[in-house]
Amino acid sequence: MRLLLLLVSLLLCPLIVFGQGDSVARTVAIEQVAVAGVRPMKELGVQRTELDSALLRENISSSLADALTGGSTLFIKSHGRATLSTASFRGTAPSHTQVTWNRMRVNSPMLGQVDFSTIPSYFIDEATIYHGASSVGVTGGGLGGAIALETRAPAEEGVGLRYVQGVGSFTTFDEYARVTYAGRRWSSSTRLLCSTSENDFRYRNYNTKAFDVDADGRIVGSSYPLQRNRNGAFRDLHAMQEFYASTHAGDRFSIAAWYMDSHRGLALLSADRNTDRQKKNTQDERTLRAVASWERLYGGLKAAARGGYSFTDLRYVMQADPDGGGTMIAMTDARSRLHTLFAQAEVEHTIGEKWLLTAEATIHQHRVHSGDLSVVDQTTGLRADTLYRQARFELSAFAAARWRPVERLGVAANIRWELYGRSASAPIPALFVDWLLSRRGEVTLKASAARNYRFPTLNDLYFRPGGNKNLRPEKGWTWDAGAECTLRGPGRSLHASVTAFRSHIDDWILWVGSPKTGIYTPVNLRRVESYGAETKFAASASAGRDWRLALEGHYAWTRSINRGDKFSPADESVGRQLVYIPEHSAALNARLSWRRWTLAYKWTFYSERYTMTSNDLGVLGRVKPYFMSDLSLEKSLVFRRADLSLKGCIYNLLNEEYESVLSRPMPRLHASIFIGITPKFQRR
């Protein structure tokens, strides 16, 4: 607690010097506010959340998982720092969240999900969340929704450089650099990020005990040990290169390539009695993603074409040394190599001011090679054949007609059709309506409904052992309806929305199996009904040129209920909330700026999450609710040749002990300091 007080004092001390003034020129961040009244045709009836750029740029050590936790109603299931973090919408599974990067889908074709902890928020310029039916306009398979991630050309002309260095608790170091050039016809951006951490935070382990043992092996005393997170060290490297160019004729070209090299220790479970010298789990990943695109406007027609490639080399190794003598032997060496080719063509045609027609075709060609290289068949002495090699062609065709017959009414009809290997979906229709109820307050009513499919992943079908080639695609219906309003005044604004949703998913794919044999098999098991409500608000106010206050809040109530048939007469899961879906989740961000100072407070809340399908409330049946508070203070300094920024962040401000996932203790109060420098080159 004394450490907490000291850190808070250090962070708040600079406030004392507020009165000294800041006479140098200053820049004031302009909050992003959607201009209502003239609603873009592409957004008719669409339920979307644009992630606040301030959250994306919170600090260089933040991942997209951190940004989504604070800036949306999505549930982020995080296993810890720099560890698997998945996102789920409206009570669905992580594999029901489709993610695109510069329009190329980046969900693993093996697992179907995205690990958001591997996406640094500083590498994303725009993140838009499409809820429920609205995801049909982005991609197929988003039974919960979709997240569209984009990079953008540098805004400022000339040469730009920004370098940020961060130092944090648990021997954490982050370095980020971005070099940009923007000319009249072309621009370039290069980003580099390196994060390393021992990640050996201390926690009181309430899941097991340390024992005092006498010479006869009898336990004579015990206590909950204060121990360090074992084997959680990580090193992540990211590099991204972008080029943008335009021609006199109106063609616009871009290419973005992003390479990641990650080496992560997977922390031992809290009740594991092995030491990190006896047992070690690591995950190494090298991923390259590249997308090139072309766009051109021909009067009322916009044409675009994109092509891309991604490669992932993923290796999970479990090593053990029972003697602790220093010789680790691989017990599991699971290796996966994935290649994906991507191509997309899109046309948009505007007819007057009332019609917008869109057609799009997207293909992904996956090739996967996956298996455990450590397994030896003792009957032959050769490596066991656990590998599967599969390729799959996926086509998604989309057409949309958006119509605004009168200024107040907008209607959109989408249809998507998908081909996965030799299977095809039935047509996926989606309908959107929005109605400007009142110009005053820009009160808009929105409603949408869609049918949707998600095809089994390659692991679902072919994983060895356990893959199930007879799986059916998941299919469902979803609808939502809501209202939003925007109030503006001099120096202030308020935007609020509320949405109710309901969806049904049949043939929900669930992996079931025996820990005893380690063999798991996916089956079409469940019929899931989810319903609830989401609400969000964003408010800002400024006073003169010095003060500015921005608030953003999100709340979701989510019921996700198993409506399937009973497994057996003893099954108590029917009618119960799905595991790891919180009924209530909320986030609040407050940002107070005064001249060049910014004080930001982030608060997140998840209600309890069940870990048994029968919703038992015992110690083993739930993860307790938690509230989390983070605080940061930033000061910008402007000099003739460079701008500097200093930022201090305190995470878990109240020094709480908590778990986000069963038996995965999280770090208590910890802090980081960031120093950024932006040299001023001569602008063109």
Binding site: P515, T613, M628
Partner: protein, 380 residues
Amino acid sequence: MFRSIRRSIRRIAVLCALLFGAGACMDYGPLDEEPIDLPQRGLFIVSEGNFTWDNASLSFYDPATGRVENEIFLRANGMKLGDVAQSMTLHRGRGYVVVNNSGAVYVVDPTNCRLMGLIEGVVSPRYIHFLDNDPTKAYLTDLYDARIAVVDTSTNRIRSRIDMNRHRSTEQMVQWGDYVFVNCWSYDDKILVVDTTTDRLVDSIRVGWQPTSLVLDRNGKIWTATDGTNGEGSALWRIDAATRRIEEYFPLPANTRPSELTLNAAGDELYFIARDVWRMSVGAAALPDEPFLPYAGTTYYGLTVDPETSEVYVADAIDYMQRGVVYRFTPAGACIDTIRVGINPGAFCFKAGASNRAGTSGDFGLSDIKVEKFGNNGSH
């Protein structure tokens, strides 16, 4: 305007104070401990939990009253049992609970489930076997280590390790005289033979693909069940322990993975799961025509037979993600109780009453101990 901003700041401060207060309400900390008093006779039920979820648990069922106590390890000791509890064995008044993915064998007092000791130094332990001919030694198998650990039972420390000649995934053990037989399950087809006097691997018996289970009947015959693989069906095997020769081979119906071999109180009837629950005489020349309990849409996951009454206990894992149930049947197959226990109940261990110290279904003629280890009926 400044006044309005100040007002806003005051409101935010109040809100933050409320949130801080809410944060302070978080409920996380030590687990409650409570005294547990277990009846003299009953059944320990080991629930594996889910892999990497640390939610294994131990239950105790009293057949006399039909009462079940769940999570007794957690409640008695204020700590979790760990990740994937694999098996439990009673030996000389102590219970040994092997927790596979926590790398520990917890030694508990079977009267109150309080921890008495622990065995560490094994990465992925599966089963423990106490030698009949040397009370100071126990063998401990490991899923990943191609060695069997030799445990000093007086100190709970690992004394040495026996090299298994690259055979990983050693599993259950039974003892015949000075020899311990152990099945090697994962990607293997061998029953290995260890000489307990020298702690050395001395022989191996080739059976079918992936022998999953091992018991020793009253006639000194070893039974195992194999998964089968491409072109090779699953099967039951009977091996003469004295000559180490395969005597019988019983092919099982296609698409059944046999497991959970166990014997009745007299050691003359073999039970196992192969989609249905089967029962056959150890002297039978062929599989029975009808199962003891036909498949009924449930996930038969664990099986044991009361060494005193020959009542049959069958575990149902349901969807593997909720508390499973154990059904109790009379030897005639009538269900007489349903017991709700922990997640994935997979192993059992009988605690015999003082009045029946010789009741056992394993290692006939070799053991005078009173308990049965699930699926192993082996030495104690």
